[in-house]
Symmetry: C2
Subunit: 382 residues, 2 copies
């Protein structure tokens, strides 16, 4: 990137790529793999990995049959195949905004339409409002898609909210697609390790999107899964799984090994991200004009900045700003919204750097906001 070519150091807080070490179990399993021919794995996933996933869910108190788990190439393929399986052209999916922008590509690939459920920074982006959700349901609605814990907001649903959303899906006979890839990252004990899979009365509605990427700091493995007890959907998904033959063999072997790491790994990861969250939120609150609610999960925080346009501000940070040769990069907010004009002065900050680096990045943000506003004011009055 141009800023780096100018010799600037950039603190990257724009992508959700965890920096923690991948457990050694992954590499050990991969190195031990020694089949003479690297053959196609089974289309629904390798039994060793399906069993590992089932064992993990059993640990959460959720019993699953082998057929309830379909291994996919990351949570991304899990979402794409789910959309292709349940959506027809012009059918609708309700998604709280701001949301992960790639949802748009997956829904549109299947010909679907997104109905955005609005939230606002002042309410901490909380979306579990029954009337607001139900007001969006039409005869074309097929699904509600939520991310819990949330990306980009870090919002975590409490039990009552989860139950309410499950009730709405059941009452209106909708799929409830629950992207739970950040499940292990909840920073308040009240939430435990949240999953909708406990609600057995929505077995036919529920589709869980899962992945090893964030959970085990193993994004490059591209191993995820769809978990559903809906038999008809299982068949539709299986058809797509068969059409693309298999998920990479060695990565499935490695992913199965990841599920053998002990609970201490999750505890350490969570403690580290919680300390980072505390740092970022404390520092953001110290910057005049910044609006931020403490996120309860994932490793993102959405903040409203006292700037006219976060995209312009980001461009300026890269091209016109530095402090001792350093600058910082966020994800501008607007792409996380379906509704035009929303999120313009918001950013998503991924706290995927170590604390001293986060401290420095927040110094830079604070200094940059002051300088940017000054320059804007000078332009207006000059």
């Amino acid at each position: 990137m141009a800023a780096e070519k100018q010799g600037k150091k950039i603190y990257y807080l724009n992508i959700g790529q965890p920096d923690l070490e991948t457990p050694a179990a992954y590499y050990a399993a991969v190195k031990n793999f020694d089949a003479a021919t690297l053959a196609y794995a089974e289309s629904p996933g390798m039994p060793v990995l399906i069993d590992a996933v089932r064992g993990y869910y059993q640990g959460l108190g959720v019993g699953l049959e082998p057929a309830d788990v379909l291994i996919t190439t990351g949570g991304s393929e899990a979402l794409l195949l789910t959309c292709l399986s349940i959506l027809d052209p012009y059918t609708e999916v309700i998604i709280p905004e701001p949301y992960y922008p790639n949802y748009t590509t997956f829904v549109h690939a299947a010909g679907g339409v997104i109905r955005a459920l609005p939230t606002c920074p002042e309410e901490g982006y909380r979306y579990a409002k029954r009337e607001r959700i139900e007001s969006l349901i039409t005869k074309n609605t097929r699904a509600i898609l939520i991310t819990n814990p949330g990306n980009p907001t870090g919002v975590v649903l409490n039990q009552e909210e989860m139950r309410m959303i499950a009730d709405v899906a059941k009452k209106h006979d909708l799929f409830l697609i629950c992207d739970e890839v950040y499940r292990e990252f909840c920073y308040d004990d009240q939430f435990g390790v949240p999953t909708m899979a406990h609600f057995r009365d929505i077995d036919d509605n529920l589709v869980i999107i899962d992945s090893v990427s964030k959970r085990f700091s193993a994004c490059g493995a591209r191993v995820g899964c769809v978990v559903t007890r809906n038999k008809e959907l299982q068949q539709a998904l299986l058809k797509f799984c068969q059409s693309r033959l298999a998920v990479a063999t060695i990565d499935q072997v490695g992913a199965a090994a990841l599920y053998s790491v002990d609970h201490e790994f999750f505890r350490r990861s969570k403690a580290e991200y919680k300390a980072r969250r505390d740092t970022v939120v404390r520092r953001l609150r110290d910057i005049p004009g910044v609006l931020v609610e403490e996120p309860m999960g994932a490793f993102y925080v959405m903040a409203s900045l006292p700037v006219d346009d976060a995209d312009k501000f980001q461009e300026w940070l890269l091209t016109a700003f530095d402090d001792r040769g350093e600058t910082v990069m966020f994800a501008p907010g607007a792409p996380f919204y379906e509704t035009p004009g929303k999120g313009v002065n918001e950013v998503r900050i991924a706290y995927v750097l170590e604390i001293p680096e986060l401290e420095r990045a927040m110094d830079l943000l604070g200094a940059a906001i002051v300088r940017y506003r000054k320059e804007c004011m000078q332009r207006e009055t000059g």
Copy 2:
């Protein structure tokens, strides 16, 4: 499977899973990979692999820019993303039948419709007939999709036929999607290593589907690519590549190493498959009533059998037949056809076993046909 549970040995000639050893270079590269964090690779593919692919094409006399190659999760994802990028609901793709059945899933996922270009066993399944192709073109046609060398037929186009199809695509402004994953498996020197990429006047039409799966006996790596010089299509594909973030990191590292194997590997693979083809075709010709043309490439042969229904015959082979506890399995022909009723007495035989096993499998087929016809006749007259 039930037949195996009964203790039967089955000769599997039904799937295109090569049995040759994967080159050691793959495993060596994978074992050497030691990044502390297994991070997302670049969305269009890792530069090391893109360069390896470009180097391979350079060896064929085809120069490619880095942007002309997009790495995918196998040839399957290459096809799915291509269909999602170029097809709208109700647009049409012309495909010679019989064809790889998963094409149907990919085309339908994008809302497209398949127009089958008919062939017949009597003509050796050859499809390069200009009038027949042009008669299928309508205002909704977006693409011609061919597999060269062909799966399931083993048909290889000669230079004149390739040029004619390129001309048709150019004249009618259609995409020409050329699945060339079997490119290295041509058993007649006249074909060399065929690729449409030599025709530079169809740069805007041509989309090549490629993969390491068959070429390097590495199906489980799930590494393929789309090769196209059409800039607009590159952008559409890139959007999908970004939405699913990346292809598995370690497999890309391994696949890049595969491209370093020397030419001797291709020569040995080809010699082995050629000897197998010769065995299977010779033995098939010795079975009365079997119609077969010698396939020129890939590792499949399509044969017409003197039975009423290949699907019923296959079922009978598994449940009611054995010779000294052994039986054989093919892929029945009908699923390779779009047109209902076609291929009913045909089978696809994948010659992916060693010669002594192929000989035994052909013994079994010959004996089974005699016994099956006798039983059918007895039922009819009894």
